[in-house]
């Protein structure tokens, strides 16, 4: 299984390749996009979490290719405005021309727009935002030219196994660490990327600038009083009976996304992923500090390598992963931060 990591500049690409990642993914927001559509992110991330120049990306791709590492470019907004498709197409052409190994998309219309010859021999990856939960949806995207599917977060191991078995000619990718969220990116309007805060920061020259929150779908130049970012908000909850609409007590506060970036782990599931033929294990969060990315890659690599030395008992494997987790992150793993709790839990009751 390959290990895939996020990257935002060539220095990161170098460091991550040196420790042995097999694939990198990133976004790019070239100046011609920013100039025209500065409010809209092309890849669901604010500008600073993307490459901003093709030349920089080209250097990162060169570095990656020297290490036999592939580079996939996210062009994965939920959708684009009609007038934006031409520019999105131009960006895809540009990145493929400078050697990118594939694209990550969420919007089927992008695939309809692109010339099939352009994508020949390239990886066409359907991101988690396209929400592929069943084998018929895999066929739907395969017919559009997809070569790999990224499974959404909220799937059980057995559901993934069933899909992977239904079409072995497709590649499958899973989330393995960081950025665990209750809600599915592709079904969420308070996308976690809206999280942020307003304040002052210093730019490279030392000038103070107002921090802008990066809005849903976009990196929006909008400042709002007291707005901390959609899903980071704390909600007081009142339980209400469906029978008579009467309050029946309060509940703990709710957050759409109450995790830090550095939370969520599915390392114990690698055992099952290997058996079902998953192609790639994805480390999340382009905005993560490099040191955390490196830590995550090393941890996942160690967990993966446990399976290289021949047959291993699943319980032993899980115990070793937990030990490694504790050693790496100095914390006990727990079910609430577990990407794939179905590894541990049997179905208690299904209606």
């Amino acid at each position: 299984m390959k290990i895939k990591a996020p990257v935002i500049n060539k220095e990161e690409a170098m460091r991550l390749c040196e420790i042995g990642v097999d694939e990198l993914f990133c976004g790019i927001e070239p100046s011609y996009w920013r100039k025209r559509y500065k409010c809209f992110s092309i890849s669901q991330r604010p500008t600073f979490a993307n490459f901003t120049r093709l030349s920089g990306l080209e250097k990162a791709i060169d570095i990656a290719h020297r290490h036999k590492t592939k580079v996939h470019i996210a062009v994965n907004a939920f959708f684009y405005l009609e007038e934006q498709y031409d520019m999105a197409e131009r960006i895809i052409k540009d990145v493929l021309n400078i050697g990118a190994d594939g694209i990550i998309v969420a919007d089927a219309a992008i695939l309809l727009k692109l010339n099939k010859d352009l994508l020949k021999g390239k990886d066409v990856i359907i991101g988690c935002d396209a929400v592929v939960f069943n084998s018929a949806a895999v066929r739907f995207y395969k017919d559009l030219g997809a070569t790999r599917i990224v499974f959404p977060r909220s799937m059980t191991i057995s559901e993934m196994r069933e899909i992977a078995a239904s079409d072995a000619s497709m590649e499958y990718e899973v989330f393995i660490i960081h950025d665990l969220c209750f809600f599915e990116d592709g079904l969420c309007a308070s996308c976690k990327e809206a999280s942020g805060s307003i304040g002052l920061r210093k730019d490279k020259k030392g000038n103070e600038k107002i921090d802008l929150f990066s809005g849903p779908l976009i990196s929006a130049p909008i400042l709002l009083r007291g707005y901390l970012g959609g899903c980071r908000d704390r909600f007081q909850q009142q339980k209400v009976s469906t029978r008579d609409d009467k309050d029946i007590g309060s509940a703990r506060p709710f957050y759409f996304w109450d995790k830090k970036h550095i939370q969520g782990c599915g390392a114990c599931a690698i055992y099952d992923f290997k058996k079902m033929g998953i192609a790639s294990l994805k480390i999340l969060d382009r905005r993560l500090p490099l040191e955390e990315k490196i830590k995550a890659v090393k941890f996942i690599k160690k967990c993966s390598d446990l399976l290289l030395k021949g047959p291993v008992d699943k319980n032993n494997y899980i115990a070793k992963c937990k030990e490694l987790f504790k050693k790496t992150f100095r914390a006990e793993c727990n079910l609430y931060d577990c990407y794939y709790p179905s590894v541990f839990l049997e179905k208690r009751k299904q209606f």
């Binding site: 409010c39 959708f79 405005l81 009609e82 498709y85 219309a109 309809l112 727009k113 929400v131 939960f133 069943n134 084998s135 018929a136 895999v138 739907f140 995207y141 799937m155 059980t156 559901e159 665990l180 209750f182 809600f183 079904l187 969420c188 309007a189 304040g199 002052l200 103070e208 107002i210 809005g215 849903p216 976009i218 929006a220 400042l223 709002l224 009083r225 007291g226 707005y227 959609g230 899903c231 908000d233 909600f235 007081q236 909850q237 009142q238 209400v240 469906t242 029978r243 029946i248 509940a251 709710f254 759409f256 727990n334 079910l335 609430y336 709790p341 839990l345 009751k349 299904q350 209606f351």
Partner: protein
């Protein structure tokens, strides 16, 4: 649950009547809720679970709902949620049953796999509409704040103590257009969906308004609930249980829902089952000439 007060039943003149040229439907998810249907107000029943495959109706209940619709000469739309392979099997059975009984109904599709399956196995058996989960509007409730003017205010930097005045101006035209648009504004996608037999799209009455230019499909609009976020990690009791549950369903959503309040969002957010909502009742006068020809009333929080 108390039924939603239906402002829509009244035209501008105040008389209770159906809006001219506008079909009115009521969304009903279980047999008990057929009580919300009445012939005077509605011409169609939307039947089924929109967001959760654990709540797909069994065939017996669907059959009873069909009989009820036939008795009342009402149109029938069968809503389907997003599904895994097991949910898809359930839906396939339902589609086969409907075809076998020659039921002329509409299917609302919220999953690309379901659309592919209908196209491959049940081609032209049903009318097809693209559901709210696939239309992908921008449904963030904070849009109200974004689109409103605010008075200037100051922010103090935590480290330096320096104050900066911040002025919020409503966003420009392109941004507004982007936030009001949806996935279906793309003409490429519309052509593609037409090949699959899609004739209609289902829309939320989002708080920032709609941008429907160039959409050739027929359009339905839902009121009063706008779905914000959906997941298969059911959030009903997960936090209390310290566990993200997927396949352990105890149907808590049938007994209660949650009202949620945040000081930063000036409206109540509702959580029922695997989906969160906000309420934005439809003002019929705001619809204008944008081609919407059906209103779907949700008398209860849907699931």
């Amino acid at each position: 649950m108390q039924p939603v007060r239906l402002l829509l039943s009244f035209s501008v003149s105040g008389k209770k009547e159906a809006v001219l040229g506008m079909e009115k439907a009521v969304h009903i998810s279980n047999l008990k809720n057929l009580k919300y249907f009445n012939k005077e107000d509605y011409q169609r029943i939307y039947w089924g679970a929109e967001f959760c495959q654990n709540l797909i109706s069994d065939l017996k209940d669907t059959d009873k709902a069909l009989a009820f619709a036939a008795k009342n000469a009402s149109g029938f739309s069968f809503i389907t949620p997003l599904v895994t392979d097991s949910g898809l099997k359930k839906l396939n059975k339902a589609f086969s049953y409907l075809r076998k009984n020659n039921v002329k109904c509409e299917i609302i599709v919220n999953d690309w796999g379901v659309l592919g399956c209908l196209h491959a196995k049940f081609n032209k058996c049903f009318k097809l509409a693209l559901g709210r989960l696939l239309v992908r509007q921008q449904r963030d409730p904070s849009m109200r704040t974004v689109f409103e003017e605010q008075s200037p205010y100051a922010v103090r930097d935590k480290n330096t103590g320096k104050l900066s005045v911040i002025i919020h101006r409503p966003p420009g035209g392109l941004y507004q257009k982007g936030m009001r648009a949806s996935y279906i504004n793309s003409s490429l996608l519309q052509d593609f969906l037409s090949r699959f037999g899609i004739e209609r799209i289902e829309l939320n009455n989002v708080i920032q308004g709609l941008y429907l230019e160039g959409i050739r499909f027929k359009k339905s609009i839902y009121t009063p609930y706008v779905n914000i976020s959906t997941t298969r990690f059911c959030p009903m009791e997960s936090r209390a249980q310290k566990l993200y549950r997927i396949d352990m369903c105890y149907k808590e959503c049938q007994g209660h829902y949650y009202e949620m309040h945040s000081r930063n969002i000036p409206m109540v957010i509702y959580k029922r089952g695997n989906t969160t909502f906000y309420k934005n009742p439809l003002d019929i006068r705001s619809l204008g000439k944008n081609g919407i020809d059906r209103i779907v009333i949700q008398p209860e929080l849907p699931f």
